[in-house]
């Protein structure tokens, strides 16, 4: 059964690594619904947050392939109930359409959204929250002539408690297991 999964990839800061990760999805015809990258709490380690809808089995395999990339430290996947996530969205709306419309203000209040910019031609509304709320607000604002709409992609923290730095420590130890197990070509 297809389901939404959030894949978190922790990697070195390397030019082109994101491409190495995304082609793994492309080759398997899995569409990336959204993707964001940012530096993590550990300096120099970057995080890609990737949202896909696919079968668990396929996601699991993709995550293994991502983790196989030399400069990827760790990759995880989580279903929606294992994460806390937010998106931010901006809605640019024609000033004319909302001119003296009380309903507009009500909607903004009801969604806990904010007007962050007002100009002669348009206002910009900001909403952060779940994807669902952002979508519903979009539907409700549609009648006011949305000139432009943009979403951030999913920002995520996971519920499981183990910290990234503890994973990194373990990884660093494991990465050093090399000398005693030299294979056919590794002896030179």
């Amino acid at each position: 059964m297809k389901q939404t999964y959030t894949i978190s990839v922790f990697s070195e800061d390397i030019v082109g690594l994101l491409n190495r990760v995304t082609i793994i999805f492309t080759r398997r015809h899995i569409n990336i619904e959204n993707i964001i990258t940012s530096e993590t709490e550990v300096k120099g380690i970057y995080r890609y947050t990737i949202v896909v809808t696919a079968e668990k089995d396929r996601v699991e395999k993709v995550v293994k392939l991502i983790e196989k990339q030399v400069e990827v430290m760790k990759a995880f996947y989580h279903s929606d109930d294992e994460i806390i996530s937010r998106e931010i969205a901006l809605y640019k709306i024609s000033s004319e359409a909302i001119n003296q419309n009380e309903e507009f203000q009500k909607i903004i209040n009801a969604y806990n959204a904010k007007i962050i910019s007002i100009s002669y031609d348009y206002v910009v509304v900001e909403k952060s929250g779940s994807e669902d709320k952002i979508k519903r607000l979009f539907n409700d604002l549609e009648k006011f002539d949305i000139l432009e709409f943009s979403r951030s992609g999913r920002v995520v923290v996971t519920k499981p408690m183990r910290t990234l730095s503890s994973y990194l420590k373990e990884l660093e130890q494991n990465s050093k297991i090399t000398t005693k197990k030299n294979n056919k070509h590794g002896k030179n």
Partner: protein, 572 residues
Amino acid sequence: MKHDKYNKEVTGAEALILALIDCGAHDVFGYPGGAIMPIYDALYGYSDQLKHYLVRHEQGAIHAAQGYSRVSERPGVVFATSGPGATNLITGIADAQIDSNPIICITGQVASHLLGTDSFQETDVIGISMPVTKWNIQVTTADEIAPAIAKAFFIATSGRPGPVLVDITKDAQFGKTIYKFEKCTSIRSYVPYPEIDKKSIEAAAELINGAKRPYILCGHGVLLAEAQKQIIEFAEKGNIPVASTLLGLSAFPAQHPLYVGFLGMHGNYGPNILTNECDVLIAIGMRFDDRVTGKVETYAKQAKVVHIEIDRAEINKIIHADVPVLGDAKEALSLLTPLIKSGANEKERKAWLKRFEDCHQVELEKVINKAVNPTSPSVKMSEVIDKLHKLSEGKAVIVTDVGQHQMIATRYYHFYDTNNNVTSGGLGTMGFGLPAAIGAKVSRPDKQVVLVVGDGGYQMTMQELGTIMDYGIAVKILMLNNNYLGMVRQWQQLFFEKRYSFTELKNPDFVAIAKAYGIKGQKVTERKDLNSALKEMLDSKDAYFLEVVVETEENVFPMVPTGASVSEIILE
């Protein structure tokens, strides 16, 4: 003097050559061009320490490097220029990736200020090679070169080996750097040798000790981990039959009583059908390729599967592992064998081995005897290989191209020595054979290297006869010529109503071509001349070309048709 080179100012190009030497490289296969000229210039002064083989096409360089790495401990090293030089490597890189060959490709690149400007011979080789390399990097300063090479060697050769590519801009090659070399032995984000979970070893031992019909599948990972001795000890202790994958051939000696044969679409009868009768399947260093499994839904469903594999992404990829053992095959087997009870289920295991013997008798009668002692007027591919096996006493390095001759060679040549099988397995690259044989002979000049090749694949990289001539590489070329793209023709016969669409070849005078390159040769059309011709080929101190005209419409059997179960193997 060795120490003189350190802490001295050199060009980036010279730093590259020094770093290659410090990484243990002895030989390079390559082809010069504009963007790699500074490197070739630096190489000129080190040709006594780093021997360069000028191939006739970059694809030849990469396949030669593959052949080179297969038969010895050394990884292959390749030089190519930017643009077309680099793109000509891609097929071989893809082949090396899928068949886990440690190859270090060095490509020249346009100067860094020209990157992304569509300048002459500029191509995004990093982007192009990304899906088919284990790792790649573009280097734009001289200082980065030596560390990149150290890292490239470490990544290519460790864990599950694979090809890497280092793209070096021309300004980095010309730039100055103080040469230092530090060997790369670990990378913090990379775990080439996972720590083996002892519980998985215990669980595997428990399953195996309880098994009445255990069955070992030996893959390429056994060769890569150098676990040949360990797999014999393991199999002998448990009295367990061993079959080999295509790339695993020569890991387990074919003359060993526990060796039962070759797996896959054109593999042996017993090894295929008995996969669906074993109770514990022990897969070692292999990845359950679709040519091995046939229809996955009906593959070994009755069996518990123990999968010993170093690449985590291979575990549960195709076949569910009841007991996955993540780690190096040699280490895993060293831990596992002491826990194996010798004499467990002795009677049942004897009967189980007998099943393989019975199947072998069936295959002998229905396929093998007819194939090696045919009564047909025309020569059969299988009898040629059978004679080659006997004359070379199973000890030659056999390099094959791709197609019918490849399956025939791997079916009828029995490998008595290890690291003697060189073939393009996963990618099935026609044109692989001739350059791979060159690389194998350069790597192991002490061995008899025989290329078995078809008339189709040979013509894809035939220009490498020039490399053989140039360096006097004593490769023995055995062409099985049926004037067809035989494997495709076989499928057209069996599955496309004999509509032989573009599979018949109008061929040149191959002996004359070899002769033009100064290579001795002859053409054999009759059975009576076969033995002496093969003998002459094997006895030749120099390269030799032997063309054997074989039956035009011979099919390779047994065969597991695509989409069929391994137990539905067709014998004739």
